[in-house]
């Protein structure tokens, strides 16, 4: 399963692509950061994020897109730009016909480090370890995007196992 993770931001939007299966180490496929100039008008900035994401979706052909869910607990001043970038991210997946999942920062942290309150350094360390890299992925901004992608590979697996278990129970029920 190949997943493209997106850590949405208007100034820096992290993009990380991994491949893997639930319960096994993932493989790093690609990592990027889309940057836009805060002095540019909002339409130019959103169009740039949209155009780049569409390009990565064409280049990497992921099975799913995992986007960080924007939270009302965020700083109000910064939440607007993050929410706008996240809308472009979610829409880019939807437009490409790829399934889109969203995860809160604490869900991604818990999946990767076992703790929902892990700090940036801990996340980078674990992403580096889980992808069996010799050095932290660069650009460093993209570590959270990789974490989201790994989170989705594993959670997607959980969901798939639940679905399999439910299907097995249904079959048993039918046999009774």
């Amino acid at each position: 399963m190949r997943v493209l993770g997106i850590d949405p931001g208007l100034t820096r939007c992290g993009v990380g692509i991994v491949e893997g299966e639930p319960g096994r180490p993932c493989r790093l496929v690609g990592v990027h950061v889309i940057r836009t100039d805060p002095d540019d008008p909002i339409d130019a900035r959103l169009l740039r994020v949209d155009t780049q994401l569409a390009q990565y979706l064409r280049d990497y052909r992921p099975d799913a897109v995992a986007v960080e869910r924007v939270f009302s607990q965020h700083n109000v001043a910064s939440v607007i730009g993050t929410a706008q970038a996240s809308a472009v991210a979610v829409l880019s997946g939807a437009r490409a016909g790829v399934s889109v999942a969203t995860y809160t920062p604490s869900e991604a942290k818990a999946a990767i480090t076992g703790s929902g309150v892990a700090d940036k350094k801990q996340m980078t360390t674990m992403v580096t370890k889980l992808l069996r890299l010799d050095a932290p992925p660069k650009p460093a901004d993209a570590a959270d995007a990789l974490a989201l992608a790994i989170c989705h590979v594993w959670r997607g697996g959980t969901q798939a196992r639940f679905a399999a278990a439910r299907a097995a129970l249904d079959r048993k029920g039918t046999r009774r």
Copy 2:
């Protein structure tokens, strides 16, 4: 000049199209509300808003798009959905190659009613009057979108006059 105004929202997104020139009454061209189900996943909702807006841009071929600017003063819980819908709105204009302007609610109110703190009823009354309609535009949700479009026709005119004045000054400067 034909302007498509967008009052962004995820549950209800108002769209109003007017035609006019600065300082003269505008003509109502079209008015719509795009609705999405709050129970639907976010990717389906954003895709629906995007698809509908793209359709209206093709149908009406406006010279400009005017979108309400999202404000950090908004309620934090509702600001995320509004910011996401506004990103889709701004992006739809940018993707269509149409110039995009954003106005704060008080800029639109001041342009239409003379007061930046006008209430909903006052805005609807003035929009009805300015478009010389016999009854308030329906759906009522779209009055703010029409106000944004009228605001842009008039403000666009101001900007055009400033540009003309600056150009005239430049020419004088050259002649000296």
